[in-house]
Symmetry: C2
């Protein structure tokens, strides 16, 4: 009974709908089945009718409970998946995104963020969206993360971390072409990314003395300038500045050997120069267990490390593994921040 | 006895000295200890006096046998490490490269290559060199591989494959800065790299119908042009040309998901756009078991996937794992080619 009362007093995390034509709904149902008996607790911001229909379609034995406030989630969580209703304009068809539902998708994110800003939920876990389906409804952000940064009043401060059981990586440049990554990499960005990462590891990840490893950009980290000058001109000055600011940082490391089993024991997060330098090792090691964590926001936000997966939506075969990991991590981070 | 006679009739592979201040000598000694009872057979082209001294220094119980021709190696291999003598000008000091020995280092490579060109040995396995220590002796190549291509009469045709138990990768651009990789990537290079790889997989790796996966260059393989145009302008035309030439090729794939366990089952080799895109996944998965294979040469050539490691040379702690894998692979490839 002690356990149940702890549970009843626990703040849930909010799980957004994501694109209702994608796999978000079904993996949320599966995540509840997997987590209902555990210490985590979450509430989905979704359309209860479409979830009920989806549960029937994929033959998933889930009870739903409509709640009028997030705080009620903990009391019902062991018996039913709590749903804070966000109604869709038209029925969702798996695999077929519909612009008519864009407002609902956006409202789910806005409401979850608002609950987190007010401390009613411990954090936000976002199911995947499809930006293209949202543009007509006035969505004007390059992605989910930038939208959350704007909603929480810190546009431009968002930093993407990918975390898995084997590795945490933080790319300095993210969703730009490789050419633009080279053109826009600066000492200042490396410093800002590493400082935000250092602060998050201390505050939310419970690491008292975080060790950061900074990658080189070029093969062999430039081989003393023979294979590129960015290490010397851009990266080394960032490392100097970070050390001066008290950050425990090493590098620039040759990119190809910094993710081996032995190398990974030497740091808590790798600061990487571009998207694939960070994501290739993470996904190669842990395809299904990667969680996207947005650092630099005033709220906790995680998301599964995959997209809408229209091709398999509604078939009941989508894996909830990454969403489950995202919920578990959001709960852990929220508890640490609350301490 | 049947086994022994097979052994006695087998062509050895030639293992070069590499930089005598590096770990080449000691890992060759260890490789003999590991392989002497197996079906492989190799001969080292090295200075027998320095090897004997090194064996004493690291307390390694290896008998050496000076042979005057490579063909004699098989007969002695189970009892002693056969050495085709290549004398050094001055004693080698571990960790301290000496330009006075440059001629010996180069002679070892030249002689091994010559033996392979004449079919006396099945292939060449090269221990790591340090180019900087060779320049004064007239070595004018960007690396080992380019030197071998020149020696075998096919300059510019060399293609680097890294092979491990989990993955084979072939970078289209190699030892250039990331900026230069972008500037020099062409459809023609991708086609040439993939065709050489296809031919080698058929002839030497025993794969009747090789399947090649071609990576994208940009995050998400460019996301239909939103994150870069190279997929559309450079890579897709290469795939079209390769298909027209009868090569079984797929792509361009998003780089971050093409090396997962599931993805790797779908191809025999990954054609990658730049050094770290290829080497990060390979080394992350298999740091110690990677073998460098040079494709496009008239001879078989492999090498361990590491450098001279001056910092640990002469201490007896260097791992022979990659050299052993390189020797084993060279033997396998040589047998296939001879069939």
């Amino acid at each position: 009974m002690a356990y149940l009362s702890t549970m009843a007093s626990m703040r849930p995390v909010a799980v957004t709908m994501g694109d209702p034509a994608g796999i978000g709904g079904e993996i949320s149902l599966r995540a509840w089945q997997a987590l209902r008996k555990g210490p985590q607790c979450f509430v989905v911001l979704d359309d209860p009718d479409r979830l009920a229909e989806l549960a029937r379609t994929i033959n998933c034995d889930v009870r739903l409970r409509v709640v009028d406030r997030a705080a009620a989630a903990a009391r019902v969580f062991r018996e039913a998946l709590p749903v804070l209703p966000v109604r869709l304009a038209v029925p969702a068809v798996p695999g077929r995104p519909d612009k008519a539902n864009a407002r609902g998708v956006i409202a789910s994110i806005e409401r979850a963020t608002d609950l987190a800003l007010h401390g009613v939920v411990g954090g936000v876990v976002t199911n995947p969206i499809n930006k293209a389906a949202l543009y007509d409804a006035g969505f004007e952000y390059p992605g989910h993360t930038e939208f959350l940064a704007a909603l929480t009043g810190v546009p431009g401060k968002e930093i993407m971390m990918l975390a898995s059981p084997s590795l945490r990586v933080v790319p300095v440049t993210v969703h730009v072409s490789l050419r633009d990554a080279l053109a826009t990499l600066t000492t200042e960005k490396i410093v800002a990314t590493a400082r935000t990462t250092d602060a998050a590891l201390r505050r939310d990840f419970g690491i008292a003395q975080p060790r950061l490893a900074v990658s080189g950009l070029n093969p062999h980290a430039g081989e003393q300038g023979a294979l590129g000058k960015e290490e010397e001109l851009i990266i080394a000055p960032a490392i100097t500045a970070l050390r001066a600011a008290g950050v425990d940082v090493s590098g620039p490391w040759p990119p190809d050997t910094m993710f081996t089993t032995a190398s990974r024991t030497r740091y808590d997060a790798a600061i990487c120069m571009y998207h694939d330098q960070a994501l290739i090792p993470l996904k190669t090691l842990d395809m299904d267990h990667g969680v996207n964590v947005t650092l630099g926001l005033p709220i906790i936000r995680t998301s599964p490390d995959h997209g809408t997966a229209y091709d398999i939506a509604g078939k009941g075969i989508a894996s909830p593994t990454s969403l489950i990991a995202a919920i578990e991590l959001a709960v852990t981070l929220a508890e640490r921040r609350a301490q």
